[in-house]
């Protein structure tokens, strides 16, 4: 079944199973492997991408349901220079194993687009769909506060 996706500003047309998840299409058909498969049950958030700027779990999102909406993956963020969020994450020590990191970058990019100065509680609430097993979250929160000018 033909599928046309608007990914990171490029139009891509391919043949995809009607039941294919967005994650499978991104990783297996388009070679966009920065989006990670952690659980395939919409729990861990490692597969988070943005559909019209809103974070979704691509592992449980049907590829054909994207339609004409704009799709942004980690490959579409900080393509030339790392974004201020990404730079703040590096500086704050917000990255350890890094497997969850693309998902966190996507969720937090959406958060900062919607609310450029979130407080700590707002940041933490926005992250309930993203699991990080390494960091205990505090340095990730620090990175966002660095961008938003908020206080701990």
């Amino acid at each position: 079944m033909q599928l046309t996706l608007n990914v990171n500003g490029h139009t891509r047309t391919l043949d995809a199973n009607p039941a294919a998840t967005l994650l499978d299409v991104l990783r297996d058909e388009l070679g966009l492997i920065g989006t990670k498969e952690g659980c395939v049950e919409g729990e861990c958030g490692a597969c988070t991408v943005l559909v019209d700027g809103r974070p979704v779990d691509s592992c449980i999102f049907p590829a054909h349901a994207v339609g004409t909406r704009e799709l942004t993956t980690i490959e579409g963020v900080g393509t030339v220079d790392a974004t201020p969020l990404q730079q703040a994450m590096i500086k704050a020590g917000a990255i350890q194993c890094g497997f969850c990191t693309p998902g966190f970058v996507m969720t937090l990019t959406a958060l900062l687009d919607e609310n450029p100065s979130p407080d700590e509680a707002t940041i933490r609430r926005s992250l309930v769909g993203n699991i990080c097993r390494c960091t205990g979250y505090s340095q990730i929160v620090d990175a966002v506060l660095e961008c938003s000018g908020g206080e701990r």
């Binding site: 498969e37 861990c44 990404q86 890094g98 497997f99 990191t101 992250l127 097993r133 505090s138």
Partner: protein
Amino acid sequence: MTAIGAAAPRSDADTKVRGTATYGVDVSLPGMIHGAIMRSPVARGRIRRIDTSKAESMPGVWAVITAADAPSHRTGLKIRDERMFATDLISFEGEPIAAVAAESRELARRAVAAIEVDIDEAQPVVDMDFALTDDSPLVHPEWDSYETVGDDFPRGGNVCAEMSSDPEGVAEVFAIADHIIEDEYRSQRQYQAYLEPKGAVAIYEGGRYTVHIAHQYPFRVRDRLAEVLGISSSDVRIVGHHIGGGFGAKLDVSLEPYAALLARATGRPVKIVYERSEDLITCQSREDAIFRVRSAIASDGRILGREIDVLINSGAAGTDGPYLASIAFILAGAPYRVGPTRVRCRSVYTNTAPTGAYRGVSGTHVIFALERHTDHIAQTLDVDRREFRLKNLITDGHTLLNGQVLPDAGIFAQAFDAVEEKAPWAERAREPYTGVGIAATVWLTNPQPGSVILKLNEDGRLGVITGATENGSGAVAMGVTQIAAEELRISPDQVVVTMPDTDTSPYDAGSQGSRTTHVVGRAVGKAASELRQKIYEIAATMLEAAVEDLELVDGGVAVKGSPGSKLTLSKIATQATAQGESLTATGAHATPQPRFDPTCASGLLFPTFPTPTYHVHLAEVRVDPVTGNVEVLRYVVAQEVGTVVNPLGIEGQVQGGVAQGLGYALWENLTIGEDGRYQQRNLESYRLPLATDVPRVETIILEHPDEGGPYGAKGVAEPPIVPVAAAIANAVSDAVGAPIDTIPITPQAVLEALSRSGR
């Protein structure tokens, strides 16, 4: 300029934050097909029939293999009790029965589902106490025929391994005790829950296997895969990739032999990646444990002596259990003075999934039990819980039960003081339903060997070739990188550390027990002194100066006192290459075993805690009397680290380790039904800590440089998880006014405790 102590960004940060880092599960090769493993759905039984014909006839299925196609010998880390495939007796849910290779992952899984297996189910052995009775069936009826790796150790029947120590004087101190205090503590299994599921891509070519994985210990996979397949270790090449977390679960061979045999059977590269539920079932979680303790106490507050009996659930395979059985014994001798102490720890076989290594191996449940018991003793004596600890705290030169001397144990007192300064115990507000708890432990830096090759590149950057792995902790991307930079007086971004490849990397014992920064850092130091000498020799000719008159300056070599004479490292390396000299050097290190008393115990396979570090944690909680939920109001850690190599890295290990400890104390729970199967099957039912659950930990770092280096750094990453359940359980018990002696502390347990105490 100094790289030691700098909050430098980790070397892999940019690639990880952009999503360009390739992990084990991202590896894809031309012609690659996909594998899947068919596993027993029952915990105990006998296979009557396996029929793979339907699966084999499916279009796109390349191979189906079973025990008939695989080596039948048993292998293992310490006791050889595992086989690749079950043949007749099934001993745990998830035991492999067959494996399939097919054109796609989806098809491989459909083919697995098409394999027909008839199993005569039997009642599994689930309960550890029952497993030790004469009525229990044997999990391994042929246990007596199993070989051990190295010398045999006490074991028999359903006891996979037994560590015991029975010093003189225990009966005597119980006879004169003013109080005898007895407790039983229970703790659950914990899933490592790394975000990257286990995966492997295997190739069979020219009689050798190449396996691409993301693994904490590539050299062990090389050796264990060779052992499983019955081949020589040089017939295996392990290529490492970025690791999406491991926490101990990626230290042994797991799916690699199946990918390897399927690759040989098909002549194609074969990739296997676990689904989350398969990963959870086969993870070799932290073991569940029952800890029984009896203490003889004098009314003046001394602990006269003790009896400890521990059962740890090994599941249906020994794995790390024989080693882990020693941990309770070592920890029982610190941080408080105890008299003669009898310790027995048995690793017990049951018909449940095998358990294994998880950060803070066994220490998490041992310290939970010992520190809960410490609170119980203080409360029985009606003395302040912190005062009781300080009164009995060990000091410099204390001897552990194994005979190991801790020359610097007085650091404990400094750590208690540091916590007190930040969060004074006496001034704590005692609002209703709030409580405070404190817990302490000693921990080790794993001593096993590591090695490096240093190579000065022609552009003046330093290559570090090593089998050491970056599991996410920063031990390579910060620790080894910054130590190597300091050795040549260059900036950390001028250091390039290779990914492990067992064909070309020198040996390394893996990312375990916080060993990498310390052990590999020392190997770097040794190699660097040789490399500096070679650099000086080349530079001496170029500068027409004597070697002993030269020194390293920022990015180059100069005559001492004459910075204008500086030659860049790039010029020196280019000249060396041109004249046919190699600016490479090797270094290797293993920490010597501290002196101990080998007669102190039997079955002591993990005899000492080398390069010890000291830890005190304090937790403040509030319980909700309506819902039973526990809120962590404040968490303070004082941790001794030797020397800070990178403060960001240490902060991250403390924040992350405590978060995992909070999960263990409060939410995470792998429970086992009477059918021997896990009752949690995914990340929906297995409850991990979220950003809204965990507080920002207040971290106090204490520096006491290790004489042996590197720059005084000791292990950091493993121990922050160890005392957390103890501190939390002590705080919750304080808040509810009744003892909480089982973890995780569920809302129901909180409500029951409140009704017991009448609060």
